[in-house]
């Protein structure tokens, strides 16, 4: 029997997907007026960061920043820069092609994570190779090739 907390979790999961599908639509609309995917990324992340920063300080969490181990900050900065470059690349792609094509191909990140994870994180991050994993990887790869092949047909 599924409990109330799980139902909430599934609803939030769907809302996450909806947000990630809606965001490129707004960016694509904005690009019609200002055709600069670089500024689209910079403005979007600046506004989000400002709001988050206000909420962060409002909840008196600023002190936690002074106590953290600097060794781990570098990883987090790297994650932020990579995330920013990811959104920038996605927005550049959105300038010249359809949203569905970009969002579809970007899902290849799951396969790339499976391959790069153990290289960067070490053996602990290695996924166990199962028939479902192989089938899933083949389907994602096949789907991406089909999108690339069919985009101009």
């Amino acid at each position: 029997m599924i409990n109330k907390q799980e139902i909430q979790g599934y609803i939030y999961g769907i809302l996450t997907a909806l947000c990630w599908a809606t965001s490129p639509i707004f960016i694509a609309r904005g690009l019609e007026g200002i055709p600069s995917s670089i500024w689209a990324t910079a403005i979007g992340s600046s506004v989000a960061t400002l709001i988050y920063l206000v909420l962060f300080l409002w909840n008196k969490k600023g002190k936690a920043l002074t106590k953290i181990n600097k060794k781990y900050i570098y990883w987090q900065i790297a994650a932020g820069v990579a995330g920013g470059l990811g959104i920038l690349s996605r927005n550049i792609a959105l300038e010249t092609t359809r949203v569905a094509i970009v969002i579809g191909i970007v899902q290849l990140q799951i396969l790339i994570t499976l391959v790069l994870g153990p290289i960067i994180q070490g053996e602990a991050d290695r996924e166990k190779i199962t028939p479902k994993l192989i089938l899933g990887a083949a389907l994602i790869l096949g789907g991406t090739i089909l999108i690339i092949y069919g985009r101009n047909l």
Binding site: G9, I14, A17, A48, G150
Partner: protein, 143 residues
């Protein structure tokens, strides 16, 4: 070029996911998120200023700026917020199967809001990708 940048986006997102795991587990979600957001914002602002300068924004199109701001807020605050709320209730594996549906939502939303139509190949490709994500998630759930 659009395919190259879509693949590049997938690569950078993947790199981000992997490095997050190294940092955020030790820093906590709130501190980790603010550091990540600031790093991402500063790097993209720097790239925008160096490569394009502010003259691109003239004449100031406030509607476009509002759309960019909404795009950012929905992706970072909405998406990440719901992601954390969902992962804490059903775990990251089951969450992945839900977020795997993102391309399907994108097809429907792009059709209604931007009048972007996809052909049978693109639609088929998206269904294959969503099915693939579902299989990988099911495989992880079996462990």
């Amino acid at each position: 070029m659009s395919i190259f940048f879509s693949l590049l986006a997938a690569f950078f997102f993947s790199l981000s996911h992997i490095t997050i795991r190294k940092g955020v587990t030790k820093l906590g979600v709130s501190s980790g998120t603010i550091i990540m957001l600031m790093a991402g914002t500063l790097s993209t602002l720097l790239i925008a200023l160096i490569l394009e300068g502010v003259q691109v924004l003239k004449p100031l199109d406030l509607t476009s700026i509002l759309f960019f701001a909404l795009g950012g807020v929905i992706h970072f605050l909405g998406g990440w917020g719901f992601q954390n709320a969902s992962a804490s209730r059903i775990g990251p594996v089951r969450l992945s199967s839900m977020t795997g549906a993102t391309p399907l939502f994108a097809v429907v939303l792009a059709f209604f809001s931007l009048k972007q139509v996809v052909n049978i190949y693109i639609l088929g490709g998206i269904f294959l990708i969503v099915a693939g994500i579902l299989f990988i998630t099911m495989g992880r759930n079996d462990k």
